[in-house]
Structures are given as C-alpha cells and as structure tokens.
Symmetry: none
Subunit: 415 residues, 2 copies
C-alpha cells in the first residue's frame, strides 16, 4: 500500500526550517508496512496546495498532510481541501467549544481568529488535538484517504499516534518489521564497518543508520512473506547487531540516553548529584526531561564562577589557584562537594572549555575534566579533548558524564 507525505508551509520551501515532520511520518508509515513513495512540500499558496492534493490523492492510497491549520491569514490548508473537493466549509460547534474550553482552562479568552480552526470541509472527520488549538481532519479524495494535521511537531505526533495510525495501520500490508537500536560511543563509520556484511548475508534485511549527534541509531528492517516471519528475521539480526556493538548499545526506539542511565540508578536504588560548569545545566536538563527523575536526581550545582565553586561545593581556593578551574583536581573537589551537599550515593562533576573563548596554551578548546565521587570509595577522574564547536562539546561532555555515571553505578572504572 502506497503512502505520500505532504508538507505545507513557506518556511519549509524557503529553507528556514528542516522538514523533520516528513522524516518522522515516513518512518512511522514505513514501520507499519506502507511504501512511502513521495514527499511533497509546497509553499502557502492555495493553488499549489490544491494541485498537489489532486495529484497525490491519485497516486497514493494514503496521504498524510501537515501544516497550514493555524489561525493566521497564511494558513490555507482547510480552504484548499474544500476547494480541491468542491465542497463548502462548515463550522463544527463541538470543535469550537473545545477550543474555547482550552483557552478558558488557562483563564484566557479565545481570539476571534481561532474560530476558523473549527471550520472543516463538509463531510470531514474531525481529529481532536489534545496538545494545541487546531484540530485535524480526514477526508476521502480521489483514490486516497487524506489526513490533515498541524505542523507543530508535538501536536502532530500526538494526533498521528492517537487518531491516524490506528485507522491506517490495518490498510498496510504488514510484511515488514523494523527494530531500532540506539547507541552512544561509536562513530557512524565505525558502526557501519562493524555491520557491513549483514545485508549481504541476509538479503531480506536493510540496515539503516541515523546520526543524531552524539548518538547513532541503527535500524534493522526485515521483509518477509508475513509480518511474523519478518519480525523473526529482524529480531535475529538485531541480536547480532547488539552483540557486535556491545557496550555502545543503550536502548531501543523510544529510549533516551539519560532515561536509560536514570533507569539504571532507579533499579539499583542509587541517587545522583551533579556539579556542572561548562555544560551549564545540560546534564541536569537531560536527566530531568524524564518523568519521575526527581526520585534519583537530588541536586545539580551549576557553578560557572570560581566563587560559586568555593561557596557551594567547598572547592578550595588553593586547588583553584594551583590547577585552574579546568583540572581533574577541581573536578574531583566539585564531585565530592556535590556528593556531600546533595547527600547522594554518586556525584558527577564536569569542568571544561567549551569555547570559543577561554582556551590556554596547554588547555585548548574542548578540554573537559570529569570526576565521579561515590560514597565510601575514591573519586575517579578523567580528562578528554573533545572535537567540535561549543554546542557539540557541551553535548558530548554531557553524554560522557552520564556514561561515566552508568559505569560507576555498576561498579566499573570510568574506562
């Protein structure tokens, strides 16, 4: 069964925004067995939206559209669909009430312009939006069932998972199965080399890679006569992938790296404190993205200034003067201070030079010192020289710090 993804928005055609929605949708559709044969993107132009809809609804059986459902004058999707189908727009009072209630629940009044978000082509099936104001809708056009959703990724993803996927999954021929394996610690080329021979050995399997710095996701897609045969093959090859990538594997499709470390802490009944300098709160933010993380994350001291390192974490002025703020000695005292103040089982500290400024002759940009303190054990330290710009250095340092926490949590040394 063929599917097409249709994105609407001048911000996309002008290149102001990378179209991650199309990629996410295509991946979802592929995973349940659709052949996604086309991604189309047009600007906010009613004539072009109508033409594309006419064409896509003849060439694919399912068309998934995003964008152009907002309240402003450049949001033209609903009008274009009505135009393409030759039907009128009709106001859906239930949707209008839902939008008003959403505003009221935040003690605000609905703007008059939001009312147009309750208008739908006559005969459309309304798709509720639990994350925002614009409902989506579905219509039959030519050969296709067409779904229209907001372009805001969070709203779109929830609507797709709750109201689109359940409807269309049964249309797809499920003769494929995909396993996602998330890794941290190996480069994409190294991962590729380790798995290079698998496709030749098993021709029904395609191995895909997605780099999402600093992670590499490996996707094992198998096709078979039936979904269950495909699943068996995919799971078998995925097991080989996991063996070959060993320690770099941290989870599956919906796992986050920080979540996997948090889960480990929870399982072992361990609590964590952090002392961050160059990462500036990123490690804490990654950890606390995960619901329930307050059970094991007790305290994060982001001590940018030397004064804060001394006052909050008890780092000694002598250590700072003798070694500089970016040193394993300071990292160790930061970790020990965080352990004491946070009264946790483990504490990790990061201090480094993320750049572009701050480098010295013997400490170039990218120099990052790590320390992990544990109750009743000597503190472990490590220095790395990390590649890339400020953003990459901070992100990679955050991952490495969490990686070290995970190793210490299971009783290992840092490396």
């Amino acid at each position: 069964m063929t599917a097409a993804v249709f994105s609407i928005g001048t911000e996309l055609t002008r290149g102001e925004l990378v179209n991650t929605n199309a990629c996410w949708l295509a991946e979802q559709l592929t995973a349940v067995g659709f052949d996604v044969v086309e991604h189309e993107t047009v600007d906010d132009d009613q004539k072009r939206i109508v033409e594309a809809l006419q064409r896509l609804s003849k060439s694919a059986k399912v068309v998934i559209c995003t964008g152009g459902l907002g309240p402003t004058s450049d949001d033209l999707t609903t009008a274009a669909v009505a135009d393409a189908m030759g039907v009128r727009l009709e106001r859906d009072e239930a949707s209008l009430e839902a939008i008003k209630r959403r505003f009221a629940s935040f003690n605000r009044e609905m703007s008059p312009s939001n009312a147009k978000q309750a208008d739908f082509p006559k005969g459309a099936q309304v798709l509720p939006n639990t994350q925002g104001t614009a409902p989506g809708f579905a219509v039959n056009m030519n050969e296709a069932r067409c779904f229209f959703m907001p372009g805001v990724p969070g709203e779109m993803k929830t609507m797709f998972s709750d109201h689109v996927l359940p409807t269309i999954a049964k249309l797809a021929t499920r003769n494929s199965y995909q396993v996602h394996i998330r890794t941290f610690g190996l480069t994409e080329s190294r991962v590729g080399e380790k798995l290079a021979d698998l496709e030749a050995e098993e021709p029904s399997v395609t191995i895909g890679y997605r780099a999402h710095f600093p992670e590499i996701e490996v996707k094992v897609l198998a096709r078979g006569e039936t979904a269950s045969k495909a699943e068996t093959t995919a799971r078998r090859i995925a097991e080989t992938v996991r063996e070959r990538l060993a320690d770099a594997v941290y989870g599956g499709r919906d796992d986050s790296f920080a979540g996997s470390v948090g889960q480990l802490l929870r399982t072992r009944g361990l609590t964590l404190s952090l002392a961050e300098s160059c990462t500036g709160g990123m490690i804490g933010s990654m950890l606390t993205d995960v619901p329930g993380s307050s059970d094991y994350v007790l305290f994060d001291a982001v001590t940018y200034s030397n004064g804060a390192k001394e006052a909050v974490l008890g780092v000694s002025g002598d250590t700072l003067r003798a070694n500089g703020a970016v040193s394993i000695e300071v990292a160790a005292e930061m970790a020990e201070g965080a352990l004491r103040v946070g009264a946790s089982d483990i504490a990790v500290a990061v201090t480094g030079i993320a750049g572009p400024g701050g480098a010295t002759e013997d400490k170039p940009v990218g120099t990052v010192c790590f320390a992990v303190a544990r109750k009743g054990s000597p503190t472990l330290t490590h220095t790395r020289r990390l590649p890339g710009d400020r953003d990459r250095i901070r992100k990679l340092a955050s991952y490495i710090a969490l990686h070290f926490v995970a190793r210490v949590a299971v009783g290992k040394e840092l490396e």
Copy 2:
C-alpha cells in the same frame, strides 16, 4: 523566478534520513532571490523520477536535483533524465579519466561499476565533482534549466557553490527583502490579529508566522521593483510590527531569547544566579548556550530534593512544611538563597509541577511559582498555571523566568 528542489532516494522517502539537503538548497536559492515553491522527494523508482522531472520542469524555471548518481543498481537518476528527454546516454571520456585518477590518488583501482558515473544524457553539460567520484550535470528540459548533483551533502554543497550558483544567480530577480522578528509572550493567534490589516494596506508585503514553542517568529517579506525598494518597504513594515508587538519582541533572525536576556544583563553590568526545581537545569542550559555567558551567569542550583533546597539554598524546613515545595514562599527563599550563595545582583527561582505526577488537589500539573530576588530590594513572586505536557511546561517556565529576569534588570515589576 521560480525554483524547485527535487530529492531522489528511498532512504529519504522511508524516513531513514532527514532531508537537510533540500533545506540547505532552498535557503541558498531564496537568498539570491528565487521563489522556491516546491520540494519534491521520490524513491529510487525510474518511472516516478521521470514523472516528477516532467512535471517540475514545466512548473519551475530552475530545478535543482540531488541523489541517485552513485555506482549501484538503485542509482537511476541519469537514466531517468535521458528517458524523460528522449535522448541516449553517452560516455564522457574526460569524466571517466577523472574518476580513474581519483581512485589512483588513493592507491585504489576504479570498480567497473563506477564507469556508469561517466555516462550522461546526450547534450548535457558536465559539472565536475572535486569532493567525490560522481560528476553532476545540467540539461534543459521543458521550461527549466535542470541541475543534477550527488546526494552526499559535502559533494553537493561544493558543486552547487562552484558550478550551479554562479550560473543561476543572474537568472533570479533580486526584488525581495525579508525581515525576521522574534517574539515571546503572545500566542500565534494574538500576534496574527495585531498584524491582520498590514497585508491589505501594503499588498507588496507578505507576513509569515512561525511557531517554535514558545516563540512566535514574524517574517515580513516585501517585493518591489528593485531589491532596495523592497528592503525599504520591508523595514518600514517591520518597524510597524515591532511597535504593535511592543514588549513581546526580543530580537531578529539570529537572536536567541536567552541571548537577548544575557545581552541585557551584560549591558547593565548585572550578574545572575538561578535556583531551579521543575525546570531541572533548562534555564541554565539555555543561558549558557551563549558564548561568553560565564561573564554574567554565576551559579545555578538545581535543587530537586527538599534536602538540597535546605542545604544549598538555606530554604527553611518550616517554610517547606507549611507551604509545600511548590509555593511562592519557597520560591522566594530559593531566590534569596541563590542570590546569597552566588553573590550575584539578581537571582531567579522556579519551583513547579511539570507532571505527569506530583499534582495535588489545589496544585494541578502546570502550577509553577517564580521568584526574583535583587540586592537591596524586596523579592518579587508570581504563580502561573501553565498549559501542555511536561516538556512544554518546563520550556514555558524557563522562558517566563528569563522574561522576569529581563523585567527586573530594567527596574520593572514582574508583570
């Protein structure tokens, strides 16, 4: 002058790879004055490639294609172009020699399969590839000049900059100018209403909106007889937009909200400490994304546990017991503690319930308490009920906290 971007590859249509090439190309084309009206992506299917080429070469004057020029059996672009034009493929001996030389320079022999990369539709102009084996080419088809380049981003970008852009830049009419205005604090619909009449008043202007939660970006695009007339119009209307959106405007295209608050602190010679609970380091992370932020961000205490709030920030156990951790009383003591420990001029504290757990009867998910402490002034506090899921609540709370810092930095009350 209209342009279309055409991407070829099953890895794209299946969602294994985000199409960053299309975004990059669209941005380049827009910058020199093209109207990019469509991005098309199809899988490695010769019939679909031919159909898309036929269509795009009639609807746009310039078509920029990437992908499908590799040596393997699923690389079909060159054959599809010849098919669409009704011409034969011809081998270009100079290109074949260049490919052989490239392999020789790495002490390798050319694989026989690479020879097909020296085949081009009869009459095509060859575009050299200095970064890889596959040359590109250009042909005239229907109404358009069509360019074909490899999909590998590094090869494509060099080829585009060296051999495509110089040819097409003179075709574009540089008669447009766009101003970007970034805002925080108004909903998209409210922003749209405030600007609703501007397009009617000035028909050469298009106003676009981009929601990037919780920000709304307004784009004022003007067209004119000349680029300079367009620029004058765009700047004039942008000034009106800024006046109407007033305090919600924080910067232009390349500004970040945290950066604008940081710039304000720097200009006024003020330093900042933070005490975060539900935002878990996100505010610190946003601020320290900005190079040089260590000049004004001194300290961020992420105190998830009550113990850490007491030990690090000196929040009193009585206040915690009497009011709960999510209260303006605790927020105030957190901010005062951060001010004292961080020895900064201003301190902001956030404590709230980001969910999904943690709600009580009188404190539903989304309840967030803020406090801003200033040296020598009474501490200001504020409670908000924020909409959305955990991620949105944390993000919006972080923005509001920074918004409050900016207000206090210029001597205003919180609201």
